[in-house]
Amino acid sequence: MAEASVVPESVANEPRRSARSLYSALEVDARLLGLIGALIIIWIGFNIMSGGLFLTPRNLWNLSVQSASVGIMATGMVLIIVSRNIDLSVGSVLTFTGMTMAMLQTQWLPSGLLGQPYTWIIVLAIGLALGAAIGTLQGFIIAYLGVPSFIVTLGGLLIWAGLAFEEASGQTISPLDANFQLLGGGPTGSLGETLSWAVGILACIGIVYSLIASRRRRRKYGFPVRPQWAEATLMVVSIAAVLGAIWIANSYYWPAALAEQFGKGPNTPVGIANPVLIAIGVAIVMTILATRRRFGRYVFAIGGNPEAAELGGIATRRTIMLTFVIMSTLAAVSAAILSARLNAGVTGLGAQAELYVIAAAVIGGTSFAGGIGTIPGAILGAVVMQSLQSGMVLLRVDSPIQDIVVGIVLVAAVGTDAALRRRAR
């Protein structure tokens, strides 16, 4: 279905092709297309059921902000699961690093460093370093001491949540630094119209450049390349998607009261929220890491056959440890976003986040058998989960029922995926 819908007008003039040959010429990931199809169905379904409330710039903008924190962590969880491990501690690491950053900017830093324009940078740097240190510790125990990741991170789940409670004596720590709050999004923590378009245009240039560069490389070695029309289709669809997203973000305006307070005129576009920008940055970096660097190649090889990876001369233990360092650092990134958004350090900030993060990665096609998973898939998985939740909130579905639906969707998604994989074999 999704394959047919992307045929542009120009293709109609070419010799007739079946949907199958078009699809194979595009060389796009079938699983990713399926996920996009599912997302479109979910969005349209909720829009109809809510009487047109779902597909509004306001709701989609909120959806993008809400998906950001789980999406960021899901990219790290992909690498963990691909290498046949699990990290159950991400929610507690999030809570602990979030609370620590809150304490730093309210009480712990020397007063000379508080309330400065650079305070947020110091706080964020310490928060990320703390995340990396936690990941190093857990990763070391898992990779070098051989304790199963399930056990180590189950312990971590209890330990880091307990430490978060202890360091703040169970209190909510608020308010946070004014600049730090901008990490959380909201109209003030967004790019605004011009910058959003600038980001969009940069992204388009990046897409065009990478498609052309990859084609050149393959040409140079005389490998088969996509037909030109397929390349053009891919380019046009990607650019349209990017510019469409920017247009939607810019169609969401500052709420009237807030706009007045900040001296903005009516109908001032909000643009892309900072958390979304961070999530996009993380997704790009993680995709490069996973597919274009040795580290990512090793993570996948370890997941495919740990013994072969070891015999191939890969430093498997260091690679595994690094996946946990990345995971906990990303949890700290999400902690900054979520606490900034709440304007507080809270003891329950990351409660159950591990479940949503794992679910997002798995819905996005990451296999527990190891060796299979993609970063864009995990991000889409996070958006699917968040869409379900925010759609049900719009429909005023009770929270226990929401949990039931999300649970069913998780199992159904993985079940379908497994069935399709068996058939493909």
Binding site: Y221, R297, N305, A308, L311, I314
Partner: protein, 277 residues
């Protein structure tokens, strides 16, 4: 002592080093234990350039364990390894590869979920000057090597899981060949292969031998070993029974060494007769 057995007794002494120069590999007094079990007990073998050593023995004789010490998969507990006469320390597979030791494992040791190119360069990827993987250059090199080894191989973009046993074998061999192995270890290279593919592996062994590569060939198949090897080292319950020149022994005598665990000089004619039945 009969004439035949006397010859065989001479054959248990390896040729004098001076005849062939410095050995490519010398493993001296290697000991490897698992718990209290001596999997390899004081074994010494050597290998010269352009030579094929057949390493034979029953199940649990310790031949794979001995060879894993050379490939770095499980370092020896004690003993010495010399490459070109220089003592070396091989603590992991990376060390072994640095000395030009390549291994084709019985279970092939491929990462099933990635393609032939990724497997061939596993652990030794080519990168661009920015440090990212140079997939095109690696694919080009893989196509070139495969064109030589298995011209019918076309599936460069699919996970090796979906390849046939012979194709997977080609990938494993291509990996060893491409990186200019000086010392090649083949652990049951034909175990999973059909007749045509087995013939292909035999051709390859002869070709590599002619290029001056030293090969350790581990096999259950005594015919394979007799066809391909120059010398045969027999192991029995972790100990080296002896190393014999292929031309100076019969298959029956080697079989007797494998089963009884004593060199031909110490095996009576009646024992061999009983064995053969």
């Amino acid at each position: 002592m009969s004439e035949v057995l006397k010859d065989a007794a001479d054959a248990t002494r390896p040729p004098a080093p001076s005849a062939k120069g410095v050995p490519l590999v010398e493993m001296r007094n290697i000991k490897i234990a698992f718990g209290g079990v001596h999997a390899v007990d004081n074994v010494s073998v050597d290998l010269y350039p352009g030579e094929v050593i057949g390493l034979v023995g029953g199940n649990g004789a310790g031949k794979s364990t001995l060879i894993r010490a050379l490939s770095g998969a499980r370092p020896a507990d004690s003993g010495e390894i010399l490459i070109n006469g220089e003592p070396v320390s091989i603590g992991n597979p990376r060390d072994a590869k640095q000395y030009g030791i390549e291994t084709i494992y019985q279970q092939l040791a491929l990462a099933d979920n990635v393609d032939a190119t990724a497997n061939m360069f596993l652990g030794r990827e080519l990168t661009t000057r920015f440090g990212s993987l140079d997939d095109s250059a690696m694919e080009a090199a893989t196509r070139k090597v495969m064109g030589r080894l298995n011209p019918r191989f076309k599936n460069f973009k699919v996970p090796v899981k979906s390849l046939s046993g012979g194709q997977r074998q080609s990938v494993a061999i291509a990996r060893a060949v491409h990186f200019n192995a000086k010392i090649l270890i083949m652990d049951e290279p034909t175990a999973a292969l059909g007749p045509a593919e087995t013939a292909q592996v035999r051709d390859l062994v002869s070709q590599l031998k002619a290029e001056g590569i030293g090969i350790f060939l581990i096999s259950h198949d005594i015919h394979d070993v007799f066809d391909l090897s120059d010398r045969i080292s027999v192991m029995h319950q972790g100990k080296l029974v002896g190393t014999v020149d292929k031309d100076k022994v019969t298959k029956d005598e080697v079989l007797a060494m494998i089963i009884i665990g004593r060199p031909p000089s110490e095996v009576s004619k009646t024992e061999i007769a009983e064995l053969i039945g």
